[in-house]
């Protein structure tokens, strides 16, 4: 590693740079970033990881349900072919079929590898990894540990990674990718503690920055998820695809207001929890999509038997895909059948009528949920129903990548995990995210290491660095001059606009209005002012994150306007039906030569015959 200083301007706000050099730079330290860093490091190259928070705090810790992998430990009818077919059906066949195939084939080995690194999963009676039911998966498929699988995964990867000699730069945010010609050769970042600018030289860069939840008011995502990876890649010339597909998780907390949006795991429904409206009706039985009719229980009794492992029973409608469950909840609330605080009831306590020691069972299977409701809402979920409603949870769209290597259209720039796109198509199945991180994290790390080995060191464009750094410090100059708006107000305005205008149910006129709003906010964000200094200043961080948020908000809205049909997570009031032709195309967003956002529709590659046969077999 080379440490040096390049001094910039003389004044107190000068962007002085520290420099670091790696073969592979990973941006983000959630499951995908850590798995990629471990793979690259195992390939023998120098690896640096930059993350916005402290190590081990990324959103992967919030994953509750489990890791989808066709181990076949609980039901031996399961195998990669069924997992592949389930993933494609869940994604409404807009998935990148090759990614879905690789994912289904490689997930089991990745889970076993995690176990070899110390992760502990719940066990079957014969001592193997236990698997649980989840929405859209035909068989019990999620390797899990209670309802804190994400914590187990991130801690295992973190502990394995620190013993490999990977360099971690915590609380450091990348604001620009640096290019040498067409190739990405580094990144410009600032570290939070002192606000110093850092230049990272790298022969390959892996984006693993996660999602975009902060573009909405109600979200399960933390402050970090501002679409940085998508925005950085877009600015660097990569394609974004499927940006209209934002997953609204059906069950977030709705009360009290301060916890609105916090996730309530699908595992509650996997363990037998049911959704009811204020009349006590299991409304999910009222609307079962044709694609799933043959796989869904006819009666409450059959649904219950499914959750208890009866191989001959079909799944209850509560375990239909997330997009559908979320819309059914919205419908109940809109039509006046919701709970007092604008949600519906999620009831796990009812299983008292079915099994002995139900309270202990619930606490053992869903300890974090028990704890969360007890502490934040004073509700004992073993006694009472929870109130839940949809929350912005996951971004299916993101950087278009090569299925084998995860490299984007820009040489040297890789993307993996939530900030990449392709695997999930129009809707992600629960549990397919953690497996995505492992399977493609490993592939991205290996491919990036190999790519880095074939490259000469790139040339950093110092002028581009100076310009970007100066722009980043602009908010302080404006504050000194006594003009400009505060960053928090702008962020809140954007979140409200996206929530109201580009949410679960969308319409042409509302989205046009959103685009106007975004244009206005862009204009105002360029003049935002920040008081104080560069040392750990959340106002400044929020101001810089605004740029990414606005880029992804524009991409989401533009893509949603371009898809004139309803499919998966994207539902349009003005085009409520599926359109067969649209179902064979995907939305591509890229930066035009004039700097304006361009949206095109391109045909989706169709799977080859053997895979088509698998899809048909399990339809």
């Amino acid at each position: 590693m080379r440490d040096g200083r390049v001094d910039g301007l003389e004044d107190s706000l000068s962007p002085a740079f520290e420099t670091q050099e790696y073969d592979v730079l990973v941006i983000g330290a959630g499951g995908a970033g850590l798995r990629a860093a471990i793979a690259a490091s195992a390939a023998g190259v120098r690896v640096g990881v930059v993350c916005k928070s402290l190590l081990g705090k990324a959103h992967t810790v919030m994953a509750e349900g489990g890791i989808a992998a066709a181990l076949g430990n609980v039901d031996d009818r399961d195998n990669w072919r069924v997992h592949f077919a389930d993933t494609m059906r869940g994604g409404q066949y807009l998935n990148n079929w090759r990614m879905a195939e690789i994912h289904a084939k490689e997930a089991p080995a990745c889970v076993r590898e995690l176990e070899a690194w110390g992760a502990l999963f719940d066990r079957t009676a014969d001592g193997r990894i236990l698997q649980r039911n989840f929405g859209g998966h035909a068989y019990p498929r999620l390797a899990h540990v209670g309802d804190r699988t994400g914590l187990e995964m991130i801690r295992t990867l973190q502990d394995h990674g620190v013993h490999r000699g990977i360099a971690f730069h915590m609380e450091c945010t990348v604001i620009r990718l640096l290019k040498d010609g067409d190739r990405v050769v580094g990144a410009l970042a600032y570290e939070r503690e002192r606000g110093r600018m850092q230049v990272f030289h790298a022969r390959a860069v892996i984006l693993a920055t996660g999602g975009v939840g902060r573009a909405y008011r109600i979200t399960s995502n933390s402050w970090e998820y501002t679409g940085d990876g998508q925005a950085l890649a877009y600015e660097a010339g990569a394609d974004l695809i499927d940006m209209e597909f934002v997953q609204f998780h059906p069950t977030g907390m709705v009360w009290p207001p301060s916890v609105q949006g916090i996730l309530v795991t699908e595992g509650v429904r996997g363990e037998g929890g049911v959704l009811r409206n204020k009349a006590g009706r299991r409304f999910m039985f009222d609307d079962i999509p044709p694609l799933y009719r043959s796989q869904t229980a006819d009666s409450e009794e059959e649904g219950w038997r499914y959750t208890q492992g009866d191989r001959n029973a079909r799944r209850p409608p509560e375990l239909l895909t997330r997009d559908h469950v979320a819309r059914c909840i919205v419908r109940e609330v809109k039509e006046g059948r919701g709970s007092p605080h604008g949600g519906v009831y999620l009831d796990i306590a009812w299983i008292r009528a079915k099994i002995p020691h139900a309270a202990e069972h619930i606490k053992r299977k869903l300890p974090s949920m028990y704890h969360q409701f007890q502490q934040l809402a004073s509700i004992d979920i073993t006694e009472e129903a929870m109130e839940v409603g949809p929350t912005t949870h996951y971004m299916m769209g993101g950087v278009r990548v090569d299925a084998e290597t995860q490299m984007s259209a820009v040489p040297g720039l890789f993307a993996v995990g939530e900030c990449a796109a392709g695997l999930h198509g129009a809707n992600r199945l629960g549990g397919n995210s953690l497996s995505d991180l492992l399977v493609f994290g490993k592939r991205a790390g290996e491919a990036a290491a190999q790519f880095a080995g074939q490259q000469r060191a790139g040339q950093i464009d110092t002028e581009a660095v100076e310009t970007a750094a100066r722009r980043a410090l602009g908010p302080f100059d404006r504050a000194a001059a006594g003009k400009g708006e505060g960053p928090f107000e702008l962020q809140a305005e954007l979140q409200n606009a996206m929530q109201e205008l580009v949410g679960i149910v969308r319409r042409e006129d509302e989205m046009q209005h959103a685009l106007e709003k975004i244009a206005d906010l862009k204009h105002r964000a360029a003049r935002v002012a920040v008081f104080g200094n560069r040392e750990y200043n959340p106002g400044w961080h929020t101001a810089l994150d605004l740029a990414s948020l606005l880029t992804v908000a524009e991409a989401i809205t533009s893509a949603a306007l371009a898809r004139r049909e309803s499919r998966g997570a994207h539902f349009r009031d003005d085009y409520p039906q599926k359109d067969e032709a649209a179902g064979r195309t995907q939305t591509v967003v890229r930066r035009g030569p004039d700097g304006a956002m361009r949206v095109t529709r391109e045909p989706v590659s169709q799977p080859p015959e053997p895979l088509r046969a698998i899809i048909e077999e399990f339809k």
């Binding site: 402290l54 801690r155 916890v259 969360q372 104080g532």
Partner: protein, 248 residues
């Protein structure tokens, strides 16, 4: 329940600081972190605070609230006496960076010094079989969210500043999770005694009191490890065997 609360928030950096008083509206269900965020958004944009999940799952927003180490996201205002100002200040066992943010990097260095997981060979088919009961035994330790509240409250670190000699409750829990892992075959007993300074712990159980995950740190993690150390190092019978083995 529309009213206001008064918060005394410590503002400053490594060179010093003081409490500043803010008032902010209090709504039903609010936690301390909500109040801090409201103050940050409306009155003090540059107020430094760490947070992520806001659900007690990531362990980022550790602070001292009315003098008690706690997660700001899990401390409800309804449980505090709001007729008095609520004090919010940074952890004391670590150097202050700014306002409520402390430099916890020491913890990440400590973890590197603990011998990593080393599994026994897998069964013939490449899988490991283990009983749920054996998994359950270490689950308690693996719930740890690394909020470092136990490190903050531990007098060995907080008052006696033994950071160079003692790894603290968090990493004794980590060592216990590894030592009692059903597959692990590594031996950390000598390290615990010498390098990790387990003897400094005199079982005051303050760490257990503040743990937001309700890990019974002292009884379930530290004491069994102490027993292992004592068995190995201080058992007179073993000492005799060692002496004989070494021979004249």
């Amino acid at each position: 329940m529309s009213r206001t609360g008064t918060f005394r928030v410590w503002r400053g950096d490594a060179t010093g600081g003081a409490f500043e008083t803010y008032t902010t509206p209090v709504a039903e269900g609010m936690v301390v972190l909500d109040a801090v965020h409201q103050i940050q958004a409306a009155q003090a944009n540059d107020l430094a605070v760490r947070w992520n999940c806001k659900a007690g799952r990531c362990g980022s927003c550790s602070a001292e609230i009315n003098g008690m180490p706690a997660l700001m996201c899990m401390t409800r205002l309804a449980d505090l006496p709001l007729e008095r100002p609520v004090t919010v200040e940074p952890l004391k066992a670590f150097p202050v960076v700014k306002d409520l943010v402390t430099d916890v990097s020491w913890n990440y260095e400590v973890k590197k010094q603990i011998k990593p997981f080393r599994p026994r060979p897998a069964d013939a088919d490449g899988q490991w079989r283990m009983a749920q009961a054996d998994v359950d035994r270490v689950m308690e330790f693996r719930k740890c969210i690394e909020c470092f509240l136990c490190q903050d409250v531990c007098h060995v670190l907080r008052n006696h500043r033994k950071h160079a000699e003692f790894i603290g409750p968090r990493f004794l829990v980590h060592a216990a999770a590894l030592e009692m892992h059903p597959l692990d075959v590594e031996d950390r007993t000598d390290d615990l005694r010498r390098a990790h300074g387990i003897g400094f712990c005199n079982i005051t159980k303050c760490c257990t009191t503040v743990c937001p995950e309700q890990i019974v740190i002292t009884d379930n993690a530290i004491i069994p490890l102490k027993e292992r150390v004592v068995d190995r190092a201080y058992d007179p019978l073993r000492a005799l065997v060692r002496l004989v083995r070494r021979g004249p």
